[in-house]
Assembly symmetry: none
Homo-oligomer: 370 residues x 2
């Protein structure tokens, strides 16, 4: 769903709906006005970026990957998500991410956090399964670190095979010992081919240790303005350029070996180094903290569903094809719709909890359960 | 917006609306009856106070300083507030203050409290970021006090530059060691030009250590009846005089070097030593504990907004000009409107939480988001 060197790659039968969209028509008009092709090719290359993101057909994608409900199915088949995050300082973020996964339709949502954070996160909701397994430096003696690190990994790994997706980072904090343990968990998830959505302090970790995700096609990074800036500086060794946003995002995703990056903004931009999609529908002007956590939980669920369906059915006859990109598009669209519904009602006083309460209605509006 | 020696200072174009208000007309009538000016001047000086507060045009001020919402903005730009408070004994007050800031439209709201208070405050709401950093005497050995005090300051100071405003005092308690640490935090905030709203036990602290705020134009004190009495006794060395309330408040604010004081009462009175404004609109006869905490969080947000706008745009073409006074007027008006809406519904059973639930609708009534 990209235009490279002015040539649209959209003319597959699956993209007919997109091709007829207002956004697509505007962009084609723009390209014609700029005289792309023939004599003007040289001018075009110099004056506009070579890669442009096109608006994804997000609601159709969401419908295509959301499983139908069936009385014959059993617990767990609609998704088992685990959030790795929550420390002495932060408890809200992992809760928001994990509860969002449940509200969208996952069957089970776990949180792996520190011992201090666990009782608080448990108190937010009895719906979550909260494991007080992680440790921070302040509670571990130097001589015990190796043994405790191994114990943490053993405990978490016991669960790993059961999960359809991990979310790493909401409220994780930046304690070096804890981040060391989480690195080991990520390596194990990768060996087990468990998809990983990375946000917040998880992005701090992978920006400093790109090897953790580099070349892993089941990784999704969901940076905000500042996190994106640090990634671009680290990987591309330059500053963020808003003129060539799609081109730069494509280079960044390629630069990290084809991971998927969801760059949050006025429109969300999504690339896996092959395609660049944007999701600009709905949205809210309220910027209260915690919305990124809803998004990470949301992407985790849709990514799991897209992957399950692709594994079961092969080609879903939608474009793009990658489950990480499909999950990112659907997760972004749902989050934006829920935020817009919450804002309609609560205006400036909208909080993250209000948006979470709108996830169910938003999903039902786009993709009715029956 | 004051009358000094019987001369109204209200005749600027911006004050036309005020000049036509019922309150203003009543006060002019009173002054005429008392024969202010000419032969009666001597009599007037002896028999009525020289300074009278006039009702502020609170709703217009609130509209003028509240930022418009914009899809292009990112998290944090609508305000980052920190409440310093919460100890083993008190946990509700810092929660009320911090959650009110979010409900009015701040993007992020932090609480810095003691280790005992943190899990409880966290459990009230996942929307707040709660730092368990402060310590009370009972948990600190004498020989460790210096090192722990330095550690607390280092940890809090790391965050300081990110905040648009501090609220010092809700549920702080009066432990001498803890108040010593908070004094150091306040000195650092002042060096960094971070505005400080001071309420509750924070007022106990500054009444005994006036140097902490004296001469700092970005400090707002929000005393209730008893806290005001102690301030007047300490600074003016006399008792509270309700006959010359505006004059005395003006002297008090001048006496502390031009800090802003919001004296809570039937009408709230606000002075920075230059002007005296009153806010008497709306309000409720219910006096449940915790309303002062809503006010401190509310003033913090509006003060941050007023300051941001003045820094970005210069003169806002409203009067008064000071961001601390503008923030106090808007915060007072919003709190009073929310209290009145909650009382309409809940009558004698109105609690602070009910008032907080009315903040959003109150703001929307006065200043619609779209």
């Amino acid at each position: 769903m990209i235009i490279k060197n002015g040539v649209s790659l959209l003319h597959s039968p699956n993209n007919r709906m997109l091709a007829s969209s207002a956004v697509f028509r505007r962009q084609e008009f723009l390209i014609r006005c700029l005289g792309v092709g023939g004599q003007s090719q040289q001018f075009y290359r110099k004056s506009i970026p070579r890669t442009m993101a096109l608006e994804a057909d997000a609601e159709n994608i969401l419908r295509a990957i959301t499983p139908t409900l069936d009385l014959a199915r059993h617990k767990g088949q609609a998704g088992k998500i685990a959030v790795i995050g929550g420390c002495r300082e932060y408890t809200g973020a992992p809760y928001f991410s994990a509860i969002s996964a449940l509200k969208i339709g996952a069957d089970l949502s776990h949180v792996f956090c520190t011992k201090d954070a666990a009782p608080v996160i448990k108190s937010y909701s009895p719906e979550l399964i909260v494991h007080p397994l992680l440790e921070e430096s302040y509670s571990v003696r130097e001589e015990d670190k190796k043994a405790i690190s191994e114990k943490v990994l053993t405990e978490v790994v016991k669960w790993m095979e059961r999960f359809d997706c991990l979310v790493v980072g909401p409220g994780l904090g930046r304690d070096p010992f804890l981040l060391g343990c989480v690195s080991e968990i990520m390596k194990h998830a990768r060996q087990s081919n468990v998809p990983i959505v990375i946000d917040g302090d998880g992005l701090f970790l992978v920006t400093n240790s790109l090897d953790l995700v580099s070349g892993y096609p089941l990784a999704v990074l969901t940076p905000n303005v500042n996190e994106y800036k640090r990634l671009v500086q680290k990987v591309l060794n330059c500053e963020v350029g808003d003129q060539d946003a799609a081109e730069q995002l494509l280079s960044l995703a390629k630069g990290i070996g084809g991971v998927t990056i969801l760059r949050k903004g006025k429109s969300d931009l999504i690339s896996d180094g092959e395609t660049v999609n944007s999701v600009g529908i709905y949205g809210s002007p309220r910027r209260c903290g915690g919305q990124g956590d809803i998004l990470s939980g949301s992407v985790a669920v849709f990514l799991s569903w897209a992957r399950q369906r692709i594994i079961a059915e092969g080609d879903l006859n939608i474009s793009p094809k990658s489950p990480t990109v499909l999950g990112s598009i659907a997760g972004s669209a749902l989050m934006r719709k829920a935020a817009s519904l919450a804002f309609e009602n609560k205006k400036r006083s909208t909080l993250t909890g209000d948006i979470i309460e709108c996830l169910g209605r938003s999903l039902e509006d786009i993709c009715p359960a029956k």
